[in-house]
């Protein structure tokens, strides 16, 4: 028996209610434990794809399967526990009055109470190095700290796959490096949606390019980013002065 993939997307197509077609048949699979970057220019359909992964949008055509469980109306509760979505703006994700309450929100919805809940919350905050801020209100934290707490809120649900939307946006260089260290230390499947190519290079072995609503390329990040023509064809560019480091 082949091991079950963390994420399996087959022929996924989606059009918004106003008729704009965003996805035209996306195929991808991510094995357990992989860290994969999903690259693409603005408007390529990245966010639309992400919204399908935990059933916020439901597939117009095709299917999404998380660890063997198909995303359907009747499996939503289970799916949302398995797919941890980290939003781009931590203020959208941290809606409770304190960091502790926020991290506890997901597990409490799943039915955890008392000491067990406490342990899960402490563990998640510890993994992102934010345990000391447990009793503070989120709006008193720095942006980088808020993003780390946002990661913790999702980790507390012990997800099968962590999906990060533009994790490096608005971070200063130190916060960016700290987040990278945290992400590397987590033993969980990661799908990182970004157009920050060096960050993808740093963290992910494998990358996908989503362009025009389909997967245009799939391969080792180093190879994709070395192919200037491929990048140019999909409105992706390495930042000025950046060269792929030699192996």
């Amino acid at each position: 028996m082949t091991p079950v993939n963390s994420l399996e997307v087959e022929q996924l197509a989606y059009a918004y209610p106003d008729g704009t077609q965003a996805l035209f048949g996306v195929d991808l699979s991510i094995a357990r434990g992989e860290r994969v970057a999903l690259l693409g220019p603005n408007g390529a359909g990245k966010t639309t794809l992400v919204m399908h992964l935990n059933g916020i949008l439901t597939a117009g055509h095709g299917s999404v399967t998380v660890a063997g469980t198909p995303v359907r109306k009747d499996t939503l509760k289970e799916i949302r526990q398995r797919v941890g979505l980290v939003f781009q703006d931590p203020d959208d994700q941290l809606f409770m009055p304190t960091v502790r309450d926020d991290v506890a929100f997901g597990p409490a919805n799943a039915g955890l109470r008392g000491e067990e809940l406490d342990r899960v919350v402490k563990d998640a905050l510890d993994r992102v190095g934010m345990l000391a801020a447990a009793d503070r209100p989120p709006h008193h934290l720095s942006f980088g700290q808020r993003r780390r707490v946002a990661v913790a809120t999702v980790l507390a649900m012990a997800p099968e796959i962590l999906v990060l939307d533009e994790p490096s946006s608005n971070l200063d260089p130190a916060a960016r490096r700290e987040l990278a260290e945290i992400l590397r230390s987590l033993e969980v499947t990661v799908l990182m949606v970004t157009h920050d190519l060096p960050y993808a290079m740093e963290l992910c072995e494998r990358a996908l390019i989503l362009s025009g609503g389909v997967i245009a390329a799939d391969g080792p990040t180093r190879e994709l980013l070395s192919d200037a023509d491929l990048l140019a064809a999909h409105r992706l560019e390495l930042p000025y002065g950046f060269a792929i480091p030699a192996v």
Binding site: N109, A110, R113, H139, M157
Partner: protein, 251 residues
Amino acid sequence: MGAGHHHRLYRPGDSVVHRLPPQCKLLAVLAFAVVVVATPRERFWAFAGYAVLLMAVAAVARVPAAYVLRRMAIELPFVVFAFLIPIIGMGERTTVLGVSLSVPGLWAAWNILAKATLGVIASVLLAATTEPRAILVGAQRLRLPSLLVQIAMFMLRYLDVIVDEMRRMRVARESRGFEARDFRQVPVIARSAGALFIRSYERGERVHLAMLSRGYSGQMPIIQDMSASVKQWGAALALPAVALAVLGLAL
């Protein structure tokens, strides 16, 4: 950000009053207000008794009188209204310092002033000894409509975010030479308010998605179990109980 960690109405402390579970304090203040409102306005001694009771609570909670007085500024509009009633009131009239005043109006003004002041002091003491979020947890425990509690909770969380957004919009306006001098600038401010509303609405949608992503199903989960002991209920409800006794004596 030291001081900013607490809401500006909250006064951190470790008194008996601070430590009481929020639901007890909420119910105590509510019951106290009912007793005050139910007191006939002619019973001056009862009102004096209530005032002494609140002073005792303030002393136990170590909330200084000056602090309470400053917070009472919120009552000012009602005070102005109360002063107007005797002047514009009808019926039998009397003359005080050369001004003709309505007697029923004077009674009505006294009634409003005395009861509102006692109610405001009780609320100020509640806010000074209970963190805003704890008050909401208390409201949740008292089974107040969960939708209202959730709305209040989000207001508490996002007020700063929205005020910050408002500030950024003001900076953006002023960086381009805008100055709000008189009424002709109102349309610009109104459009900014509209934009702010739309931004907040869109944020609301994103927050809802984030909640759904973590298993939200219409009810806020109970995260802290803040159940109150019989002793704590007894301590909190002593306030309305004594007030009721005062009322009984005055009648």
